[in-house]
Symmetry: C2
Subunit: 206 residues, 2 copies
DNA sequence: ACAAATAGAGAGCACCGCTCTTGTAAACGC
DNA sequence: GCGTTTACAAGAGCGGTGCTCTCTATTTGT
């Protein structure tokens, strides 16, 4: 790796850093290639040498955000702790959260290379639940679909239930961030607590 | 109401229709005032006589979408039927769904006038569950927050549980629309069915 | 030392939200 | 009936966007 490549890596890092700041402030849809280029000290055209399209830069940011969330879920143990950590992280970095779990940016479909990052996050929750079965999620179709995710010795109904409860978790956080609870469950802490407790009962985490 | 006003109403309707088509095709974030004006047969500047900002037009579309969903939930009875109708509607009109339950458009906060429309949708689900209590959602904080939503003779823990399960429902649909189930629960019908059944058990709908 | 590959800058295209000015036609007051 | 006010539509324009093309300077491999 020559000087050329090192410089290239440095400039790339600078672009990513600028993009991170832009997203933190204005969100994913508001990400402007020109603004990022400006912040990185480049002409607006030069940024396309590093990221051929806005979409490519966005993809890099999605992967970064997954890694960031993954890190936030390293030490919490058990479903409830993971759920609370996820909500806390989402409220601390709402734009990063929405980059991952929010409405896909139009014309932007999550590219395959983000899937491993997404799965790494899900693994925390799968491990927290362990390998026991969950009643109601043990249908033949689900068993077939969950085979890969559950692995050799994991419970397939458990994996299905975890997926469903992850949907509930992200749904709750998304609604909260969007302000849908304002007239009713605001602040939403009590409702969240009750929901997480219900999830524990559903998943058999006790 | 003179001829003047009638014309104004007609042009407004034309604009809304064009906006509806634009959103159906390109989504809320992709809504372009200029494109809508073109479709409505107006100069790009003339549209601002009817909707002072893009945000105002978007708000009108949000209210329309709520009404559209509300209509789709008129005849289904019971939680499971309502849940399936919601998912079906979301898959038929994904951009309208995301306009309502997706990531808020940056710089756009759901204005207060959309709240009644949102509540009208929620009412379907509240009525489906009825007025019985739901274990685990009967904390003092929730009781206080749910007082208005539950009404005089409604169950407050029931209302809280409905809110939580609505979050689960929208979370599931949002993840499905965003393609998050692609590597795992795809198609997501079986998982959805299992989740709805679980919701029925949680809410005591039988 | 020289050809090839690479990085950056600048101009430009077609689009965006929005504003300001100008022309016109309908409604109103007398 | 006529002048005035008011509503509306159009056009030009501002500063922004993603992205491309061309041109120049620098670094690289040989």
């Amino acid at each position: 790796m020559g000087v050329r490549d090192r410089n290239r890596a440095e400039v790339t890092a600078k672009i990513l850093e600028a993009a991170r700041a832009e997203i933190a402030e204005r969100g994913g849809v508001g990400l402007s290639m020109r603004a990022v280029a400006r912040d990185a000290g480049l002409a607006s055209s030069a940024i396309y040498r590093y990221f051929p399209t806005r979409e490519a830069l966005l993809t890099a940011m999605v992967i970064e955000s997954y890694a960031h969330l993954d890190e936030a879920l390293r030490q919490p143990e058990g479903w409830a702790a993971l759920a609370h950590a996820t909500r806390d992280w989402a409220r601390a970095f709402p734009h990063e959260y929405q980059l991952i779990y929010g409405t896909p940016i139009p014309g932007y479909a999550a590219p395959p290379e983000t899937i491993p990052s997404a799965e790494r996050v899900a693994r925390h929750f799968l491990e927290a639940v362990g390998d026991h079965d969950v009643a109601g999620f043990d249908t033949p179709e689900l068993a077939e679909q969950m085979a890969r995710l559950a692995g050799e010795d994991g419970s397939r109904s458990g994996a299905a239930a975890v997926l469903a409860e992850l949907a509930a978790l992200t749904g709750f956080v998304s609604l909260e961030l969007a302000g849908h609870f304002v007239g009713t469950a605001d602040p939403a802490d009590a409702l969240f607590q009750a929901m997480v407790a219900r999830q524990g009962r559903t998943l058999g985490t006790h």
